[in-house]
């Protein structure tokens, strides 16, 4: 009897000890135990070159970031980057949001698209870099790119990659059906009709999962969706249903209704496959498109496709407007232990000639840094995807230089989710384009009020 109960006690105790033993191991794998600035964002995916230097943890998903981080670490004695990939876009933001809510677990420096920066500012997640020497690098960027990451005098991120929009088109399809490259949206619609009448493929695609694309196109026709400043975060103006925006929405609904454009979701194998096999004559896209499509397997060589780049069609050719889709930045999080050091990384990572060159060579980024953007080498590079066309000089650099910046709302993801619903109703015709924007205006105004904003 006694031995039995003793055994029971011992074994239960052993189990408990084993259980407790599980936990202390968690901190061991960090690899950055001797770091001064290194965050609690987990272990590094790269090798640290200068082990004595303090470390700064970075989350980023550029395809060539591994190379860039190695270049950075080799050229810096004062600081080392400890990089890890926490997912691309929405996946990373989900982790970052959770880390903010938890108060711990965020990296020191985080890669963000400009469109989500105001939302994270509102959550007190980002450091105002104007207090940490952001002005040192201001001259490296165009006014538009800088506006995207700043609010008043405050700067919350350092731009890296841009997305000036353009239209890429299949020269072979255009030649076959005798289409001239459209420079206005009216010409675009006419060309689409011409293609259809001749039994050709779709002119383009209006996918409901690219609300950022649709926002850019409405912005091109004068939409000023948000009146918002992070310095005065309780107030917001919502203007989604002005005449210009409605014209754009009705225009695309008309193209969809006539069967001139497809309505497929983008960024999936179906759509890429369609681009590669000639289902679309144009792709209204941004400067990252050639790199993205090459990476996704749609290239000029294999499929006999002859892609060319042309400027984005305009509403008013006398007053061309340049707009942006996508692009990314580095921001410093409020959880960074050494904010000055983290700001140094945000300013200098992906900013040296060598690092930028790698980004351009691998078609990973469209550099916003003027060191590269304004260089002759970049302008004169023949782009393989476009059969050697100097697309940077011809199309993308002028588009970027004419870009004036955009004011984002602090609830971009919610807005995009609602805009997607509007786009679905535009596609299925359950509402007119104008009506869907009127409804969207109401939805977003109500949402802003429910979230405690004063709507201007």
């Amino acid at each position: 009897m006694k031995t039995k109960s003793l055994l029971a006690v011992v074994s239960a105790g052993a189990l408990l000890a084993a259980l407790a033993g599980c936990s202390p191991d968690v901190s061991a794998g960090g690899g950055s135990t001797d770091s001064a600035g290194g965050g609690d964002a987990g272990s590094c995916s790269n090798t640290i070159v200068n082990k004595d230097a303090p470390q700064v943890s970075v989350w980023a998903w550029y395809p060539n970031i591994n190379t860039v981080v190695d270049m950075f670490n080799k050229s810096h004695d004062d600081v080392q980057v400890c990089w890890s990939n926490a997912g691309q876009g929405a996946d990373e933001y989900a982790k970052f949001s959770t880390a903010i809510a938890a108060g711990t677990g965020a990296p020191d420096v985080v890669m963000l698209e400009a469109e989500v920066v105001p939302g994270f500012i509102l959550q007190d997640a980002l450091v105002d870099l104007s207090e940490h020497g952001a002005d040192d690098v201001k001259a490296n960027f165009s006014a538009g790119a800088w506006k995207d990451v700043s609010s008043g005098d405050s700067v919350y991120a350092i731009p890296v990659d841009g997305g000036p929009m353009a239209m890429i088109y299949r020269a072979d399809i255009f030649t076959k059906y005798g289409i001239t490259v459209p420079t206005t949206w009216d010409e675009y619609a006419a060309a689409a009709q011409q293609l259809k009448d001749a039994g050709g493929p779709f002119m383009g695609d209006f996918g409901s999962n690219v609300p950022a694309w649709f926002t850019a196109l409405m912005t091109q026709n004068g939409q000023k969706a948000w009146d918002y400043e992070s310095a005065d975060p309780q107030k917001i103006g919502v203007n989604l249903n002005d005449a210009g925006s409605k014209k754009v929405a009705d225009y695309w609904q008309d193209l969809v209704k006539k069967g001139l454009v497809d309505t497929k979701d983008q960024f999936n194998t179906d759509y890429i496959g369609g681009l590669a096999n000639g289902s679309y004559a144009t792709y209204v896209s941004a400067a990252w498109a050639p790199g993205y499509l090459t990476g996704a397997g749609a290239s000029t060589e294999g499929d006999g496709a002859q892609w060319q780049a042309a400027p984005l069609p305009q509403w008013d050719p006398a007053n061309p407007v340049s707009v942006n889709w996508g692009g990314s930045t580095f921001a410093v999080t409020t959880q960074a232990k050494d904010k000055d050091l983290a700001a140094t990384v945000a300013k200098e990572l992906y900013a040296s000639d060598e690092e930028l060159q790698d980004g351009v060579d691998t078609q990973t980024i469209f550099p916003l840094n003027q060191k590269m953007l304004a260089s002759d080498a970049f302008a004169d590079t023949p782009v393989k995807f476009f059969n050697g066309q100097t697309a940077n000089k011809d199309v993308y650099i002028p588009a970027e230089n004419a870009y004036e910046g955009y004011t984002y709302s602090p609830f971009t993801t919610y807005y995009y989710s609602e805009l997607t619903k509007s786009m679905v109703s535009i596609i299925d015709g359950s509402k007119s384009g104008s009506q869907s924007l009127d409804d969207l205006q109401k939805t977003m105004t109500d949402y802003a009020k429910a979230q405690g904003f004063t709507v201007k």
Binding site: V9, D270, P410, T413, T420
Partner: protein, 306 residues
């Protein structure tokens, strides 16, 4: 006689006194995990659900306010309505398929039956995400076989993921994924029936069909009730398949398609952790009510089964 009894009783009383804390030690390993990973998060989520925080405002205590908001929120209610409709259509199909498969397999004794059992079970062994991605390709108008099939009769293939067809598309995936698993549960229950009962039935003149429907099915009704509860809970918490198909759904899967997707998006995309907790708890309430209604109804009918 009284003496030995007293002697016996004395140590047993002592044992009774000792037992409680030894018992606790035994369940401690489980208990700690249970408390840390289940009870504590639940309590914390419930705590969160009682507060509300707008993007532009601070956190304020709102009591049941969030719950009132949730149960009048058209997005949440439309999600609930979807999963209920889905459950009502899915569960009978799933039960019929798995029951039929199990009855056939139980009646067969050839080597083929062992292979068939494995083949029907395999979809369950494939991770849900992988299975869904695979179906996504099969449904694809560009890569899938449907386009070619319909070309034969000069028709264009239906867009299975369009908002009109998505219901059936998901139904097909879920039945494919789970019917094998439920089949195994039913099959195991069938194997547990004493064969002498069949013998008795045969002597009484029952044919194979009568044996199946009058003997086997009633005797495995508790297993059927079990899988029904599993399927009900699983369907009300529908998440993985629509979430995976979302990028190729051409907008037919929205952020409030099912309550779980809504909770996920609220928390991790729209940064509304408090309201997301409320939605999760509200879903929990709905699941609880649904399961209770089912168990209550089945208890009445079958007199205390399950």
């Amino acid at each position: 006689m009284t003496n030995p009894a007293a002697v016996l009783r004395a140590p047993s009383r002592r044992r009774n006194l000792r037992r409680p804390w030894i018992g606790w030690l035994f369940i401690a390993p489980f208990g700690v995990i249970f408390l840390v990973f289940l009870v504590a998060p639940l309590v914390y989520a419930f705590y969160l659900s009682l507060f509300s925080k707008g993007l532009a405002t601070g956190t304020t205590f709102s009591g049941a306010g969030n719950y009132v908001k949730a149960f009048t929120d058209p997005e949440f209610l439309s999600g609930i309505w979807f999963v209920i409709r889905f459950a009502v259509i899915l569960i009978p199909i799933q039960m019929a398929v798995s029951l039929a498969a199990a009855l056939v397999l139980d009646a067969l004794t050839t080597r083929l039956s062992r292979f068939a059992r494995l083949a029907i079970f395999v979809p369950y062994a494939i991770p849900a995400v992988v299975g869904t991605l695979m179906w996504g390709f099969l449904y694809s108008p560009t890569f899938g076989p449907l386009t070619d099939l319909f070309k034969v009769v000069n028709q264009s293939a239906p867009e299975i993921l369009s908002s009109g067809n998505i219901f059936g598309g998901l139904l097909n995936i879920v039945v494919w994924q789970w019917a094998g698993y439920y089949m195994i549960i039913i099959y195991a229950a069938l194997r547990g029936i004493d064969p002498s009962i069949y013998e008795a039935a045969r002597i009484d003149g029952a044919g194979p069909r009568q044996i199946a429907f009058r003997i086997k099915v009633p005797m495995i009704s508790s297993a059927m009730a079990l899988i029904l509860v599993f399927a009900l809970i699983g369907t009300l918490q529908f998440f993985t398949e629509p979430q995976v198909l979302r990028p190729i759904s051409n907008g037919s899967i929205t952020s409030s398609f099912t309550p779980n997707i809504y909770a996920f998006d609220l928390a991790f995309r729209f940064s509304q952790f408090n309201y997301a907790s409320t939605i999760s708890f509200s879903l929990g309430i709905v699941v609880f009510i649904a399961v209770y209604i089912f168990l209550f109804a089945s208890r009445k009918r079958r007199g205390g089964l399950s």
